[in-house]
Symmetry: C2
Subunit: 492 residues, 2 copies
């Protein structure tokens, strides 16, 4: 197996190679669309399960809405339409026919042209609010708390596996409320849910904040975001939750009778995370040997590799390996015993390192004699010899330890790469040399935001929720009085 390009050499190349070599995903023959391979999909399923559980615990139900959005629905909310019109896949016909000029070839049947084009959903607000209109008459019909697991299509010009693909998988929550306060509280609650899963299960520390008006979701009044820092110092928007105000209710004329008998437009939220999280996961923890997975979302948490020189040794080792496997299974740990005889232990070690399996147990004849096993942890690559007795509680604790260590390490890296700056010159230099997030005062104008973006490629990632609104000080670029303390970074 050829080694990965190292991160120091070329971070971007390392990422691309890792995604393919660890069997997470690959480019398909369809422009910008990826194939999510079984190992990658298994990780996604783990992430899905954690999210889905929490959506349901917070009162949401899953449902499914059509993949197609008729053009006229799409046009209804102007900003949303404007935001997505430039990058959408459009269905114009519903039939192919034989191309008479070329045997075996098909062509669009001009007689099967749609009267109204259908957009393959880039997001579902339009189709969902056209449906909610029929579901909502009175405050008794509210709130509506619905989530959808779906595929969406955005015609991106430059794509990268998981990070930016023409088609991607995501969940999109769409809720309807009687009051503004309730809708805002819902959008904040879902940001909490995302934070919980991303930090405590994926071990990715995030900064929680509001997007600036120019970076908001098209059609939102407020976009909350969780921003993660990758190993190269760049930011990755890991999830967003939008307070949509009454924009979609107005666009689709969704009114309700309040409990005082008045008519009002319904308040809305939407929130989503996508397979982009896979990119965040990879670029937060992995190293030059391959993927590093937090135990809580690793499809295989422990791999057992037998060391043997004869069939007899394999039988003896297998007996013990299977016993350990069953013991670990019984306490809810997922274990693979790889007794494939066609590949050597060294090859297997490299393979499971590449795949990020958190714990590797190696057992050979000598270990049997000494009633011990060799345990290697993927996060630190440390090996130790551990007595066979009490092995399952040892592994159980080790998995907890690895989970914590990954978060701590990522958090320390992140914190050490948040730099407070007051000088724009310093900022321009440091963003090239050190990278990371830069805390700075902002005058609140789009002009400043835009100018800095053009000069440095850094954007305001968010106005962090736990930053105090400045009462004094000036914007480091414009010199105007500061309105917010924000985080700047280059971003994926």
């Amino acid at each position: 197996m050829a080694k990965l390009t190292s991160r120091a050499e070329d971070y971007s190349k390392w990422y691309n190679e890792l995604v393919v070599k660890a069997n997470l995903a690959e480019n398909s023959g369809v422009r910008g669309c990826m194939v999510i391979k079984p190992y990658g999909y298994a990780i996604w399923e783990k992430i899905q399960a954690e999210l889905d559980k929490r959506f349901k615990e917070t009162g949401h139900q899953n449902a499914y809405f059509p993949i197609f959005v008729p053009r006229s629905y799409f046009e209804a909310e102007e900003k949303n339409a404007e935001g997505f019109a430039k990058e959408c896949a459009v269905v114009t016909h519903y039939r192919l026919k034989n191309d008479e000029s070329t045997p075996g070839k098909l062509m669009v049947d001009p007689e099967a042209k749609l009267e109204e084009e259908l957009i393959v959903r880039p997001t579902s607000e339009a189709i969902i609010w056209s449906t909610y209109k029929n579901w909502i008459q009175s405050y008794r019909d509210l709130p509506i708390l619905i989530n959808q697991w779906a595929n969406v299509v955005r015609w991106e010009m430059r794509t990268r596996l998981f990070l930016r693909t023409t088609e991607f998988l995501w969940q999109e929550g769409h809720t309807a409320h009687a009051t503004k306060e309730e809708a805002i509280s819902e959008s904040r609650q879902m940001l909490d849910v995302y934070t919980e899963v991303v930090e405590n299960h994926m071990a990715i520390p995030v900064v929680r904040g509001c997007k600036t008006p120019s970076e908001r979701f098209a059609g939102a009044e407020e976009t909350y975001t969780i921003e993660a820092m990758m190993q190269d110092g760049k930011a990755l928007q890991a999830g967003t939750s939008h307070f949509l105000g009454q924009n979609f209710a107005k666009a689709f004329d969704v009114k309700f009778t309040t409990n005082e008998g008045k008519q009002d437009y319904v308040w809305a939220t939407s929130w989503g995370v996508s397979t982009r999280l896979m990119g965040a996961l990879i670029m937060t923890h992995s190293d030059d040997y391959g993927l590093v997975l937090p135990p809580k979302i690793a499809p295989i948490q422990v791999v057992i590799v037998p060391i043997f020189r004869s069939e007899e040794q394999l039988i003896q080792v297998s007996e013990v390996a299977n016993r350990i496997k069953n013991e670990l299974h019984s306490i809810g740990i997922s274990v693979k015993f790889d007794d494939d005889e066609k590949t050597k232990p060294g090859w297997k070690f490299a393979e499971y390192e590449l795949k990020g399996v958190p714990v590797r147990i190696a057992i050979g004849p000598k270990d049997l004699e000494n009633n011990q096993v060799e345990i290697a942890r993927r996060d630190t690559l440390e090996k130790s010899t551990i007595p066979m007795d009490g092995i399952s509680s040892y592994v159980e604790n080790l998995l907890v330890d690895i989970q914590e260590n990954l978060f701590t390490k990522a958090n320390e890296y992140r914190d050490s790469h948040i730099t407070e700056v007051t000088s724009y010159e310093e900022f321009k230099e440091l963003i090239e040399t050190k990278g990371g997030f830069f805390s700075a005062l902002w005058d609140g104008t789009e002009e400043t935001e835009e100018a800095i973006k053009n000069e440095t490629k850094a954007t305001i990632r968010c106005i962090p929720l736990d930053y105090e609104t400045p009462t004094e000080g000036v914007d480091f670029y414009s010199g105007k009085p500061a309105k917010f303390r924000v985080l700047y970074a280059k971003a994926y």
Copy 2:
């Protein structure tokens, strides 16, 4: 709540009303596409979970392939292309632009025309086999056992909720094998998995068989099917599993090195069930009061309805109801305690009958005095008074009983509606008066099959696996020597 149209009055109308009133699904504003509402989706999730578990137990892994199939891929397997070309959604453009003639309107941007059209997948053999080509070199790479949960689009002209919709949800398994025998065995195994879930969880008895050549999946060498009988005597194809031979391997040039070092084309299967199963479920068990759900796939297995005339009574009843709820929860039964004060018990009774909740427990002040509850089972609508003590084991057994009863009832109905016929005249009369499945000898020709279909609208549903191949006798239509014993029926 207005009553449902009765089944006797208009079966088709009853079905449509039930799907909407029980909050399972509704038509969307997009032609032929449905919205699957939370209650319907929750049932689908239960079915999905049972299937997914068994797919994994039989060694399959989930993955995800692009929704778009480039036209040239689609053309590669000729029969498959021919089968789906007439009903596919075609993406021709990747951008909309402002319609200068009408402010606020958008139009397809003629400058954003795709060089090659993309088909929204009607099924994924083409896109998947174009991918497998790169995954398979040697027999060591086989088998590939992959499943995908996805949406697909087939441009159906006449649509009905769940039964036939332009977009539907399904799973599609796609496997690759080194030998013909292994591929056939895989396709048979998956038919077994479908049978198990459909019969033992959905309580729908099925006939297992082979499709005739003219009814095979486009591109298959053999299509195995499970056929269920609806209450109106019509058949519903509930799932299919295809042995694809080497057709797709040849179309996409997927060869492998055998363990003898030779080159051979790979053998394939594909298999799928869809949201159509929801239609089968509804039309197998439900009655004039609404949905009837088998306990194993009911999102709510037990509903507790409090009877009260005062706040104090509600408090007393609630205490007991919550105790029962927790008890049932602790043994894995899903319970809803509906203590909504705005609706009356009678309304709730009707509502949960409509929604098919298998068991209803009513508790009032008198029940508290007598240390008893009233239990109603949805399948038979019988009510009984049951002592409070031992209530959870009573309910646990009752759920098992209901599950069995539903299957038995459906099975008896089905068996009493399979008629063996030797006279074509008798068949023509009975299929109109009695309906159901008709066992008859067939000469094996498409001419006979086609003629009968044209005259009676009945098709050969399958050649049942457990019917013996006839050694004598003649086709009841053509009088030619019989080759198979088959089942005829009108079908959804």
